[in-house]
């Protein structure tokens, strides 16, 4: 019986499509084979000749398909980054990015170096030349948004060409990978402005690049700190010292690397041991990395010169994180710590205003906990007199040297709180620093009960 055309069509189509499928698979396999063999040949071929060129273009095509590269879901057009950060280099040259262009679904950033000596940059193995003026070098490079990108700049400033590696992070809220894109919409409110206030503590959790905010540890009585928790175990502590540490000081620019300390509102970001954070955050905040686990527990090698902090460490059972103190055995009023000093388990690292840097380096110090007196405004807490002139110098020097050694400094402002209840609440801060917030909360509640 002859099958009608109508019935034959689907059959034919099925046959044809399955054949096509087989052909496609065959072609795909052939292409892969050619690519693989081509890349072998490429290693030997000098690029000239038909075969070489075909192999090269095939390789390029395959490469493009495999790589993530700088594709983005953003619509084509020009964008101004919501935030830009970079790290690397010596700090003498600054980099800025004010413009990101999206063309055919790929993102390109316009990177400006404030030095005319950069002859090229390298990204992912490709070299990009730019435009140089006497004072600037501008490059347009492909970038992955909302992620760290490694960019190597070549400067000809010195007698031999130098390549310097930088890491850059461009945050655009609308692009994929940003916090708002990743959460389900029931995240707590974030502050509207991209800027972090320099004159008061944040009322709502500040936006930190693409980090998603999780929850706040509220301060009930204390007025000089805030604690915000972000995804990935990151914690932001903000403290308010009441005045800009440099106000009243003589003219003088701070050295790069210590900017976070020269503000009224100091922000500390506590980061888990190996976690990667957006490049350039260290220019805005003090980054405190948690130590890795040794023998099952995390321990800092902290230098502590603040008595409330030492008390807190004792109560939280964190004395194993103490390596150096800011007072000698005779001066120490806390028995447990006096004993540690006597047994030489903890050493004297110099007073907070006269630090023995060598002792800190020898003791592998990775965190310095300072009293409020380190700040010029902390010195004149009692009266209304101006801080002594040398207190500005001391602060600048110590923050500078600690920055040079790579030791983050945390300044305990509990002594500046008005009420003892507010002072006691700083145990929550110490809990956040040492990763034992539950214990801190317990202690705080117990104290509250006791007062009542």
């Amino acid at each position: 019986m002859r099958v009608s055309f109508k019935r034959r069509l689907p059959m034919t189509l099925t046959v044809i499509s399955s054949r096509l499928l087989r052909i496609n698979m065959f072609m795909g396999a052939a292409l892969m084979g050619l690519y693989l063999s081509g890349s072998c040949v490429q290693a030997h071929a000098d690029g000239s000749g038909m075969y070489g060129r075909i192999m090269e273009s095939l390789a390029d095509v395959m490469q493009m398909l495999i790589d993530e590269n700088n594709t983005t879901g953003l619509a084509d057009g020009c964008y101004v980054p919501d935030w830009f950060g970079y790290s690397g280099g010596t700090g003498r040259v600054t980099i800025d990015c004010q413009e990101v262009t999206v063309r055919e679904g790929r993102a390109y950033a316009s990177l400006v170096f404030d030095s005319g000596s950069y002859s090229y940059v390298r990204v992912d193995g490709d070299v990009y030349e730019g435009t140089n003026t006497a004072d600037t070098s501008v490059f347009e490079i492909p970038v992955r948004l909302n992620r760290n990108n490694t960019v190597t700049g070549c400067t000809t400033k010195m007698s031999s060409a130098h390549e310097i590696a930088y890491s850059i992070f461009i945050y655009i809220g609308e692009a994929e990978g940003s916090a708002s894109k990743r959460t389900d919409g029931d995240t707590p409110a974030l502050s509207d402005t991209g800027e972090w206030s320099q004159t008061e503590l944040s009322k709502e959790a500040p936006q930190i690049a693409n980090l998603a905010f999780e929850r706040e540890t509220a301060a009930e009585h204390a007025e000089l700190f805030r604690i915000f928790h972000y995804e990935g175990g990151l914690t932001l502590i903000e403290t308010d010292s009441g005045t800009d540490p440099d106000a009243g000081a003589e003219e003088g620019t701070e050295e790069s690397g210590t900017e976070p300390y020269h503000k009224r509102i100091i922000r500390y970001l506590i980061v888990p041991d190996q976690a990667e954070i957006p490049a350039g955050l260290d220019k805005e905040m003090v980054i405190i990395r948690r130590p890795g686990k040794t023998e099952g527990e995390e321990r800092f090698h902290a230098y502590a010169a603040s008595v409330p902090v030492l008390e807190g460490m004792k109560e939280l059972g964190q004395l194993h994180s103490l390596a150096l103190t800011g007072m000698t055995e005779e001066e120490c009023r806390i028995p447990e710590i006096r004993r540690l000093l006597k047994e030489k388990k903890v050493t004297f690292g110099g007073t907070y205003d006269d630090i023995e840097y060598k002792a800190l380096v020898a003791g592998k110090c990775d965190l310095a906990l300072m009293p409020a007196e380190l700040l010029p405004s902390g010195r004149s807490m009692e009266g209304t007199e101006d801080p002594p002139e040398d207190s500005y110098k001391t602060y600048k020097e110590i923050s500078g040297y600690m920055g040079e050694l790579g030791i983050p400094v945390f300044i305990d402002l509990s002594a500046m709180e008005e009420s003892s209840g507010a002072q006691a609440e700083w145990i929550k801060v110490y809990g956040a620093l040492f990763g034992c917030e539950e214990k801190a909360q317990e202690l705080y509640l117990t104290r509250q009960e006791a007062v009542r």
Binding site: T90, S119, T156, A161, E404
Partner: protein, 396 residues
């Protein structure tokens, strides 16, 4: 008659004796004056030497080309190294006590120093020449950054460790292992905090200023300073003497009239040439060549970048080209050079095939300036090119 003769003889005798007296006393006085002049000069030499309580300055090391330092010998085996644009260093031998009162700003270096951190690249060659690499425990470059094979090997075997670049030293590593001296280049002046921090770690800092020397052998003469630091002054003097001898062997230093251009092309496509006062320019002149760009000047002192057109206008008639591969990669053929810019095909040296190239990292080889001068001389006099150590002829 006899009387007259006798009188004449007497007169002649007297005149003779007077003459002898005059000659003798003149010589005595003259000799005395000379001695006093010598003493006066020696006193003059030591007048600039710092005064140190408890130590007497005995003599000064003679320098032939270097102008950037002085070395004074004191009692008890002490030495003072006075760096003209820098600091004064008191080098105290092993076992000798350090004087209580020292002039302001004087840095004490107590021997032996054998856990040294070397962050000045020219320094490593000096240590190598003095067989002192084993005293270097830390370096500011990774293994593959060194041209000195012995240093590279020591790093690969773990005897020398990378302790961070000059502007980011690993203080912990240095303090842990008892680093007793940091030798830095003048780059450290850009990062004064690092220098202060090293001093706070009780690590004295010595700054090598040899790159300020205008004469290439002046740079090499800094080996005498390292001889003092390592307690190998005789070896340093011997090495330096050998270098000056190589120079003396170039007897026909007379101007060959041939011109040599020393340059490289940077990634911006510009030609980077040496200034008229640079030490490489001096080397060319000592070797008997002329440097067509001798009127070029720059505040930084050593190199200037110019456009290819400017370069061509001066270099087109140069007899020889030396391509500086310290920064770039080695040239494998003249074709590679002309591929960078077509205009180069018109250079006389290119047309005649007189293009040479330096070995990579020549700038680290500060100890063999004399050999380099000899290489240039061989090139200019069409000598035996197999004898060249740092230059090679680039083939077509």
């Amino acid at each position: 008659m006899a009387d007259k003769q006798k009188r004449e003889n007497l007169c002649r005798n007297i005149r003779l004796r007077i003459l002898i007296h005059i000659l003798a006393w003149t010589m005595i006085f003259a000799g005395g004056c000379e001695r006093r002049q010598e003493e006066g000069k020696a006193g003059q030499d030591l007048k600039e030497a710092p005064e140190i309580e408890g130590l007497a300055c005995e003599s000064r090391v003679e320098l032939e080309y270097a102008q950037g330092f002085q070395i004074y010998r004191y009692s008890k085996g002490c030495r003072v190294v006075d760096v003209k644009e820098g600091l004064s260093y008191l080098v105290v031998p092993d076992g000798t006590g350090i004087p209580d009162h020292l002039p302001d700003g004087m840095v004490v270096l107590q021997r032996p120093m054998d856990h040294i951190y070397v962050a000045g690249t020219a320094t490593m060659a000096m240590f190598h020449a003095l067989e002192g690499i084993d005293k270097v425990s830390f370096s500011a470059l990774e293994a593959d950054g060194w041209y000195v094979d012995e240093a590279k090997e020591a790093m690969e075997k773990g005897r020398m460790k990378f302790a961070g670049k000059y502007d980011e030293p690993d203080y912990e590593m240095l303090v842990d292992a008892g680093c007793d001296l940091a030798v830095e280049s003048q780059m450290i002046y850009h990062t004064p905090k690092v220098m202060e921090m090293l001093e706070r770690m009780d690590i004295p800092v010595f700054i090598d200023c040899s790159s300020n020397e205008g004469h290439p052998l002046g740079r090499v003469e800094w080996i005498k300073v390292y001889g003092v630091l390592l307690g190998k002054e005789d070896e340093a003097a011997a090495f330096f003497r050998k270098q000056t001898e190589i120079l003396e062997e170039l007897s026909d230093n007379a101007d060959t009239g041939q011109s040599v251009v020393y340059f490289y092309i940077n990634s911006g496509g510009q030609a980077v040439v040496r200034t008229g006062t640079d030490y490489i320019t001096k080397m060319i002149e000592i070797a008997g060549g002329r440097y067509p760009f001798e009127s070029l000047k720059d505040e930084s002192g050593s190199t200037v970048a110019i456009t290819m057109e400017e370069f061509y206008s001066v270099a087109s008639r140069a007899d020889y080209l030396i391509y500086n591969a310290s920064i770039d990669n080695r040239l494998r053929s003249i074709g590679e050079l002309t591929a960078r810019n077509e205009i180069l095909k018109g250079l006389k040296a290119v047309k005649e095939g007189n293009v040479f190239c330096t070995d990579k990292d020549f700038y680290q080889a500060s100890d063999i300036a004399a050999e380099m001068i000899r290489d240039i001389h061989i090139m200019l006099t069409k000598g035996d090119e197999d004898q060249m150590t740092f230059l090679y002829r680039v083939s077509e």
